[in-house]
Amino acid sequence: MSPLNKALVLAGLAKQTAKGSLATNPTFGFGVTGGKIIATGIKQGAAETTSGSLASSNVDRTEVGGAMGFDSRAYMKMLGLILLGLYGADTVTGTTPSFVHTFGLAASQPYLSAFESYNSLLRALRDVKVTGLNMKWTGNEPVIITPTGTGTVLSFPTTFVPTTSETGSESFLTPVGGVFQVAMVGATPATARITGGEIDIAFGTTPVFASGQVEADDPGAHNLMVATCKLTVIPDDLAYWMQVVTGTANGTAVSPKAQYGSLSIGFKDNGSTAGGLVWTGSKVAFLAERPDVDPKGGNAEIALAGEAVMPSSGVAPLIPVLTNDVATY
């Protein structure tokens, strides 16, 4: 036999019909760029018990946690399932081949099944609640997403047959042709010279380990959603910093209140002119770091860090609108 090959790996995702019902096969299958896909956290340790020798005699296993996590390109179809898993509500408008999915924060979120094929050795994790999504880009390189999740029971299926395979697909998010707008104050973002950044949605849970079984009984209730962004901007002036600190571009005193700005960050589908994803936030409190000095010169950069909160009549702090050819999830 030859050693396992780290490149012969596929991931898969499917939506469950109910908690406890592992999907038979993935709905979407795709390649990844990093991560473990399905990680197993075993909690065990040597027991501290006195005996006739100065060494432990027992090891106790108390928990076997299951987690999902990987890095991949943002393939246009599977991305919608991840966003539905994260937000819990999907309002679909439009007709084939361009369906517009507007995701909103619901009271609950669906359970997903995560699959992994590692050199055709198969693993699956059921009852996965998506606990976070990081979306990162640099310049015009393809967008990389890192979804995370917590599940319950690990299993070892015998088949990995995705309904839709996006492995090697050309339809993934790219910054090329996208929209990069931001405002430190007000709800009307304007185009900015953004060279990279990330959007991060943290929506953690604490899995429930009930007495009687070492695997989690439930992935747990969600904590509050925390939606943040980091943007690297090459500015022509210090207006962003001034607006964050004083409230206006030419202010003369520090503002005692947080300033709410807005953003619209959009990526295009590399494989179609109609597809893409746009994040919008209408109530984003930014912080801005003044640019570094450098005796050697060069472009000054401002690092913007925003925390989006729920507007009074919005569907989410940061709203993702995905346009693809998937009618429903």
Partner: protein
């Protein structure tokens, strides 16, 4: 209360009791005819707007008197 639906939409929204899935058609709907979670999602996404049901006063108005 009645709501105006701006365009046809398919809605999937998860509640603690499970998913609610509905296809809504553009036009006016009665609040009681749509699942509350679906309607709430439509309202927050801007696709549903409450219709003003203030009664219109159709009582004939007296003609204004003319001077002169």
């Amino acid at each position: 209360m009645r709501y105006a639906i701006a365009q046809d939409a398919h809605v999937e929204v998860w509640t603690n009791a499970g998913p609610v899935v509905a296809d809504v058609v553009a036009g006016e709907v009665e609040e009681s005819d749509v699942d509350a979670a679906v309607l709430g999602t439509l309202i927050r996404s801007g696709l549903a707007v409450a219709v003003d049901e203030t009664p219109v006063d159709e009582t004939p108005k007296a003609p204004k008197s003319k001077k002169g």
